[in-house]
């Protein structure tokens, strides 16, 4: 958990390696069996050129970063907006970075507005977005 909440404070990054096995496990756990995630021969015939990770798998890593920083406040009252820019593929290593962009007061309650990005090993942006968490 963060002990010091201030604008510009970086959140601890989360680094994860994507494998087809993890994508398959996520499909089993989530019930999302879209062949673009699982069927390598089908995916190779599409404009994406191969299987891709579920967008929600990438967001799970963002949520892990937020949980590490803000604990139950995130789990019980968090807000998130995300845009998926590029697909994450098997073999990619994803790094989720985030920081507190600003701290706002509304009705005597403080909220941390954070921004995040998820990059692959080439530095390409996979997901960007913002989160809000009650302090």
């Amino acid at each position: 958990m963060l002990t010091e909440i201030q604008e510009g404070r970086a959140l601890n990054s989360v680094v994860k390696h994507i494998t087809q096995e993890k994508i398959n496990l996520y499909a089993e756990a989530s019930g999302d069996f879209n062949p673009i995630h699982l069927d390598e021969s089908f995916a190779a015939t599409t404009p994406l050129g191969g299987t891709i990770a579920h967008g929600m798998l990438n967001l799970a890593y963002v949520s892990e970063m937020m949980t590490s920083a803000f604990g139950r406040s995130w789990l019980s009252e968090g807000k998130l907006r995300a845009k998926f820019k590029e697909p994450a593929r098997p073999g990619d290593t994803l790094t989720v970075n985030g920081k507190i962009n600003c701290v706002e007061q509304k009705d005597d309650v403080s909220y941390a507005n954070c921004i995040f990005e998820c990059l692959n090993q080439k530095g390409e942006t996979i997901v960007t977005g913002e989160t809000i968490v009650k302090l």
Partner: protein
Amino acid sequence: MPVKTISYGELIPGYEFPPATYELSASLVSKYLKAVDSAGDGFVPPLAITACAIAAMTGSFSLPSGTIVIHASQELEFFKLVPIGATIECHIGVAQKITRGKMSILILEFEVLDKGKEKVQSGRATIALPT
């Protein structure tokens, strides 16, 4: 998984899918945590709940064979902690359906309620389907 009751072509803004119910059992949560490579913290991860809602959404309508679905954006709001073993109900509706050139875009909104009908989570997903 919900039963596919409607084709993509039949979806119109305002359409509401039949609610989908999930039991967030310890084994389901454990499977989810293994998939996302996380230790967990004694509650159902909110993104595991979202995953159920997304699966309910995409599993509720049928697509022409060979169509790929691309998750373009996601908005989420969490309202309460959910204990392992809870049962949730996902309510999903079509907010917008847009065609832009060779891309069809579907915006779906969802609300997740617990057994006491209290709101657990809400969200909005934008999915793109190249045609």
